[in-house]
Symmetry: C2
Subunit: 378 residues, 2 copies
Amino acid sequence: MAAVQLESLEKCLERHVPPEELREVRRILYGKETRMLDLPLCALETAVERDFELKGLGFEAAPEQLRQPRIVRVGIIQNKIVLPTNAPVAQQVAAMHKRIGDLVEAAAMCGVNIVCFQEAWTMPFAFCTREKLPWTEFAESAEDGPTTKFCQELAKQYNLVVVSPILERDEVHGETLWNTAVVVSNSGHVLGKTRKNHIPRIGDFNESTYYMEGKTGHRVFQTQFGRIAVNICYGRHHPLNWLMFSINGAEIIFNPSATVGDLSEPMWPIEARNAAIANHCFTCAINRVGMVMLFLCVKAHRDFGYFYGSSYIAAPDGSRTPSLSRTRDGLLIAEMDLNLCRQISDKWAFKMTGRYEMYAEELAKMVQPDFEPNIIKE
Amino acid sequence: MAAVQLESLEKCLERHVPPEELREVRRILYGKETRMLDLPLCALETAVERDFELKGLGFEAAPEQLRQPRIVRVGIIQNKIVLPTNAPVAQQVAAMHKRIGDLVEAAAMCGVNIVCFQEAWTMPFAFCTREKLPWTEFAESAEDGPTTKFCQELAKQYNLVVVSPILERDEVHGETLWNTAVVVSNSGHVLGKTRKNHIPRIGDFNESTYYMEGKTGHRVFQTQFGRIAVNICYGRHHPLNWLMFSINGAEIIFNPSATVGDLSEPMWPIEARNAAIANHCFTCAINRVGMVMLFLCVKAHRDFGYFYGSSYIAAPDGSRTPSLSRTRDGLLIAEMDLNLCRQISDKWAFKMTGRYEMYAEELAKMVQPDFEPNIIKE
């Protein structure tokens, strides 16, 4: 682990690099500057009282003659677990509901239209333990479990869309478990659910001990505030996963995640941002924060590193927000004009020049057992 | 354009960020630290005399029991044009041959096994002009043009593989033009050629004024030093292009490019590096440097911005080298153990978890005229 624990990369650079060079460093690292949002005092005070970071940035688009701007405020939340992992399950869940409720209240003060939480947000990220009880008790029905009901209340109360990634118990299909995101409309109705398409089998994290690859495909949810999709965690490593959500029309793709420092931190700022660029859409990368001590496991994993937070939002023009902190709970708000997606698509034209017929054919060939790679030898 | 022109991001950070924080900044930005190579004094002196930057870094892999390390030294070259763009064509080409010959000599002193030049390296990047003569006179036969012969001499003299991206004149197919990379084996034989798969139509750069999408597919070249492929310029924006080279077995993918500051600089560090991560391979991103004044064009494009150099090499584990300068000619050398590719593939398993059958089907559907996106509405 690193000798110095930075609270955030951006704060470190701000502290040391002189302003005129800092502007150029930011342009190279983060693209066109995002505008600071003027957030209401009550929200800023709430953030101090409840001890979380609150940040608001804006992305611009050019005015058009025939389309009105389609301004939407998106909020993403990163947070630690609240109670120790050996507290009773119901208490742990209740404490997480309370904490998220507090942050969503601040989001609502800031006029957020769509909010998304981190992966499997009601529970500690216990999938490295390989233990079943009590962790599987955190699983709930996506359609009418207590967490979905809680999100429906939030949605109605604050008139916002809630993306709620949970561990799902599917009663209808043999009581199987899934890693699922529930999308609740601002009307309070469950718009639907979408499941994690790619399941990691990395080191201690073979999540297929608990759930398998989702079969919900690449559905996109038409909300009142724009078309959204959810690419859960490990799916961010798969460019085709992002692509298919985009091809189905997603303008914002959320990536609720849980990933630790030594494993993935240098990849984190690259992948979701590359997806925003490659697919002419916005992407929202959400990671947990904090150490997780998993008290029930017998030997390993009492400390499996720290979730480094650093949640951020990237735009189709290659720009991005600064990150939330690497260490604290936080709410990051981005105001975006969704017209930017088509504007950038018209400019860079990756879909027009994508040659998908060729790739459909090449992929169909490569999955055949007798596939022969195209290698030229001397 | 920016108020301050940084020579490089890394030098700016080194100047201002204190050492212990700099280590952490580098880890977050660039991943596992690359090792400085000990380059021979004669090469370092040559770089000073001939006024180019010379940098050498090493990537490590774990030792294996059954495979020897497969160490290869790759050199990538970024450079300005040498003569003004209104000099006679033959003189411009000869001056570029001389310049590149000088840099390759230094590469050979450093034990480089494979060297790659920038896109359309024998000519000014004139495709924004929309003029034909004299620019099309820079086109040559890939098989036996003077530039290919020059590269064959280099290859034999220094026992290295040369990747030579040129403007190709295809005599056999109606004297058409192509944007092509010629791969010359270290034996001096032309191993083959590969063409740019995706052609930009962006702003002033509609390169389809000159050449169209290549039909050479995603061939990979088996050299004595490893399996290589070439993803030319705009193809770096297309994740599927990188993927298919990788699926055909590429361990190193070169991306010879020509791109200017205001358009693409914040995307530059993201795309090739994402490709290295997503495909468990090494990628080499090569850009030109310098302003190009195109004297023959009537009105526009007397100054169409600056090529910002910043060439770099990225590894499958998410790490990368620092960049070459944003303003100077340069030779970047990376020593890599190609065993790292399979080691990272075994660790992260993106190909094993890629679900390509699903994507082959989805892509085959999406190219149909009656494709209906999968959108869920309330």
